[in-house]
Every structure is written in structure tokens, then in C-alpha cells.
């Protein structure tokens, strides 16, 4: 990456003033929410008031602190095993973040490589790879994920792999499209005249130009991955218990709807707020970096 930085023309002034003006432009509420989520994910052990997987049986199914019968020791109440819901939600951010980051990394890497190759090479390779992407895109994603996760056994690693391997075409399509238009530029032709190899051109001249779009798609897809992971965990084929995943917590709370509705309610609210912030941030980033991505 360091080499890429040098090659790019320096268009912006650096220094603290620049940083401050960039910070001021961030959308306030989504940035705040996402910062909290990131802090929770990084420092879950320090922030959470209780251990996420150990419950006190005395304190089973206590409601939230502001409801009669609740206690301030458990702000959002406890579940049927006496585990603190707030602590589980805080630790749950870690699961959501880890799964979505790693799945996006896998999908993004595969998708980018395939998109670059297809777009730059063109011809039969392009046609074949894009047919493959079409096929992969037309699959009933949740269903396939459920079948795979069920057969391979629900585990943290499998969830990431399944989602990552199913999501690459979304990246590949976008990257291919941009590669097609970028390779028409004069500097690519000049590099070719200068005798640069294909892989050099793709890596040094094309890839840096698609990084902004990759960032935008990644942010927008991250919300989708969190939702997908939630659905899988909810169905019992995602992150296995007792790890505190939001979808899993909602699934556990489902059976308590009659007696302890807060067990399912709070993780869902946490999830909705996070997704909302992520979508808003992604939309903002898209308009900022690349308004032509509006279709994505």
C-alpha cells in the first residue's frame, strides 16, 4: 500500500486542520452509534458489567431496571439462566463485528480478484467468470447457508466461511464494471506500451482506483452480513451457544415471549440500531466517495 500512496497525486492538505474538518463532516448520529459499537466490540470484557456466559440462578428472568422487580445490577434484566442481557449484548457486538469483518474480507478478496481478472482480461475468461457470478447470485442465499451450516456443523468459523463464500459475486460484479472503464484510460494504455505486465498494471493502476468503491460496498454489505449472521444464528445454524450472538439471544428469548419478553426485545433493538447506523453511514460514504454507486 505504501507504494500506492506515493504514486497517487497529493490533492489534499494534511495536518490537524484537515483531520478536524473531515471529522466534522461525518454524519453525527451514525458515527456515534458505530463508535460505541466498535468500543464495545474491542473492550467488551472491560465495559460489560457481568461475564456474558455465566449466570446467577438466583437472578433468573429479572426484568429491566426501570420495571418493577428489576435491579440496577442488571440494567436490561437477565435471561432464564440468570445471565445479564446488557453484558451479552455488549459481547454480542464482538461476534457481529468479527463475523462481518472476516466474511467481508473473504468475499471482498475473492470478488476483487475475480472482478479484476474478468474485467481486465475480457473475452472467454470474463464470460465464464461472470456466468459463475450470475449462478452464485441467483442462489437462495439463506437456504444454502442453512444447509451448509447444518451439514458442516454450526460453528463460528463455518458461519464466516459460508457467508464469505456466498457473497463474493456482489463484489466481483462491481469491480469488473469499474475495471472495464478504468482500463480504457490513457495511462493504462501507456503502461502497456511501456511493457508493463498485466498483473503489474492491474495491481498498480487499476486496483487503487477501485478502493473507494470497495469501501462503500463493504460498509453497505456489512449491515447485510450482520443480518444474515443474525438469521443463521436465530435458526440455530449460526454461531453456537453459549457464545452471545444477537440472533441466538433473540432465538433463546423467543420461547420466553410469554414470561420474559425483554430477553428477545433488547438484542433486537441493539441489532436494529447498529444496522440503521451502518446503512446511514454507508449511504453517506457512498454519496461522498462515489455517487455513481447509487444502484448498489
Amino acid at each position: 500500500m505504501a507504494i500506492v500512496e506515493v504514486e497517487r497525486p497529493v490533492l489534499v492538505e494534511h495536518g490537524p486542520r484537515r483531520v478536524w474538518s473531515a471529522v466534522r463532516q461525518l454524519p453525527a448520529i451514525p458515527t456515534l452509534v458505530l463508535s460505541v459499537v466498535v468500543v464495545f466490540a474491542l473492550f467488551a470484557g472491560q465495559v460489560a458489567p457481568h461475564p456474558p456466559t455465566e449466570g446467577e440462578l438466583r437472578m433468573r428472568t429479572k426484568p429491566a431496571a426501570w420495571v418493577e422487580g428489576g435491579s440496577t445490577a442488571h440494567l436490561l434484566g437477565t435471561d432464564d439462566q440468570g445471565r445479564d442481557i446488557l453484558s451479552r449484548i455488549i459481547h454480542g457486538t464482538r461476534v457481529s463485528m468479527a463475523v462481518s469483518l472476516m466474511a467481508i474480507l473473504i468475499a471482498g478478496t475473492i470478488g476483487t480478484v475475480i472482478g479484476l481478472v474478468a474485467g481486465y482480461r475480457g473475452g472467454v475468461i470474463d464470460a465464464l467468470l461472470m456466468r459463475l457470478a450470475d449462478v452464485a447470485l441467483s442462489m437462495p442465499l439463506i437456504l444454502i447457508a442453512v444447509v451448509v451450516a447444518a451439514v458442516a456443523g454450526p460453528s463460528f468459523r463455518n458461519v464466516i466461511l459460508v457467508i464469505g463464500l456466498l457473497l463474493w459475486p456482489r463484489f466481483a460484479r462491481q469491480v469488473r464494471g469499474e475495471t472495464l472503464s478504468i482500463k480504457e484510460n490513457d495511462y493504462v494504455a501507456l503502461a502497456r506500451v511501456a511493457g508493463r505486465s498485466g498483473s503489474y498494471i492491474v495491481w498498480r493502476h487499476i486496483f487503487p482506483n477501485i478502493v473507494p468503491s470497495l469501501l462503500v460496498i463493504s460498509t453497505l454489505q456489512m449491515a447485510y452480513v450482520i443480518l444474515l449472521e443474525g438469521s443463521l444464528s436465530f435458526l440455530g445454524v449460526g454461531v453456537p451457544p453459549p457464545r452471545p450472538a444477537w440472533g441466538l439471544m433473540i432465538a433463546e428469548g423467543r420461547h420466553l415471549v410469554w414470561t420474559a419478553p425483554w430477553v428477545a426485545a433488547f438484542p433486537g433493538i441493539a441489532m436494529a440500531v447498529t444496522l440503521l447506523a451502518m446503512n446511514m453511514f454507508g449511504d453517506w460514504l457512498r454519496d461522498k466517495l462515489d455517487p455513481k454507486l447509487r444502484q448498489v
Binding site: 441467483s138 444447509v147 458442516a152 438469521s231 436465530f234 415471549v257 428477545a264
Partner: protein
Amino acid sequence: MQRYILGRIAQLFVSLLVVVTFVFLLSRLSGDPVQLMLDVTATEAEKQALRVQLGLDQPFAVQYAVYLRGMATGDFGRSVLSRRPVLEHIGERLPNTLMLGAVAIALSVVIGVPIGVYSAVKRGTALDHVARVFAVLGQAVPTFWLGIMLILVFGVWLGWLPPGGKSGPESYILPAITLGYFTAAAIMRLTRSSMLEVLGAEYVKFARIKGLRERVVIWKHALKNATIPVLTFSVMLFVIFLGGAVVTETVFAWPGLGRLILEGINTRDYPIVQGGVMVFSAIYLLANLMVDVLYSYFNPKIRYARPGA
């Protein structure tokens, strides 16, 4: 156009082949199904007899060929648990999934279109803002959570509607809302933006200049053209609904196809899983094909956007 559609149909079969092959490989990778189907006390001879009966003693390629032939002819075998043909199970469940999808589509259109029109016409008013919040939330609220909360409010607290299962028409309401909220929000956004586009068009201005009443201008002249993308999108809803079917059916204990597949997975009833996934994917891919064809019909650019198509 014809070439494009033919290409897409060919692609559908490739996709289907990939799905069924995938499921075949997975079910074979997950170990010896005979172990799961028989008691632990079963003798080796009994196991061998079952293997022969299921064709598991054949070479891998032969098994695959037999399996493919079964998938293509609709002979999905029998359920391990109930011993009834898989096709019968699917026949019982599929109508429930399709009906729920149809109700949810109707609901999303009935809610999404009028709100979208009002939101566009009364742009910038309080109503527009409320509608847009409704739409943005639709993107973020997890379906399975929304379902549980609806059960809590209308099933448990108010006791107005059944919390799950399929009984009378009233049992459709909560699952349909759950399934349809996301899409109602999407339809609303789409109607709003295409109405805004149309409302600025010359012919709408002209209709106003002619002195037509505002109501006629909006609901007759403008909406007519604004519905084209919405109509196309409605078919796509079906694709989205099928995707969400597994989750929604689980939340509401809805006896649909998605639930059947999940039950099959949980009980290791592989014939059910294989047949279910095959039928589910075929419908899903067909709906996807319809969306693409409709889009390319309305927007010829798409036909040329893909290489080789």
C-alpha cells in the same frame, strides 16, 4: 431479446444443477446416512441391507446419476422419518409458503404504493418524514425480531391474533406483516422516487395546465407511469419472500416449505432436504428469471450490459 431469454433459461438450469449437486455432495460428506437412520443396536447385516436398498453400495458416480435422474423426474424418494414420499410432504407445505408470499405481496403493494404517492406529492411535510422513517427502519429491523415483537404485542398482550401456526385467515396477518414490512418499505421508496420523477414531466405539467383536477393528475396520469418499476419490483418481492420464508416460517411455526427443509435438517432427513431444496431453488430461480426478463423488457440497456448475453 429472445437470445437473452434463452441464455437466461440455460443459466437457470446450470444454477439448478449446481444447487442439487451441492446438496448431494454435502449430504454425502456429512457421513454415513445409514448410521443416522438406524438404531445404534442395528447389526452390520441390517446396515448393509439398508445401504443396498438406498443404493449406497453403488459407486459414487452411479449414485450421483441416480440422484440426478430422481431430481429431474420429481422422484425425490421417501422421507426417512415418515416413510411417505417426499413429494407428498412438499405438496402439503408448498401451497402454504406460496399463499403467505401472495398475501405479503398484496399487503406490501397496498401499503407501500399509496404511502409512496402521498410522500412524493406532499414532499417535505411531516407525513413525508414519517413515511421515510418507516422506510429506513424497514431496512434495519431484523425480520425474525419483528415477528417475535408482533407476536408479543398482538398475540400475547392484546390477544387479538394467533401467535403462530396456520388456522383461519387471521393467522395470515402477523406473518404477512413480518414478511412484508421490508418490502412495503422498499415499494414505498421506489414509488416515491419514481413519482417524483414523473411529477416533473412535461405531460403532467400539461395535464395541470389543461385544468384537470389535482387528484386526477396524480392518481391517473402520474401514477400510471410511475407503476412500471413498481410492478417489476413486485415480482422481485417474491424472490425476496422466498429468501425470508425459512426465517418467518420458523418464527410463526408456519407449516411451509422453508420450515420443512429446516425440520429435515434438524432430523437429518436428507431426502426431505434434497427434495425441498430442489423445489425451493427451482421456484426461486424461476422467479429470478422472470424479474430479469421483465427488467430487460422495460429497460433494453440491461440486455447489452452483460457479456455474451
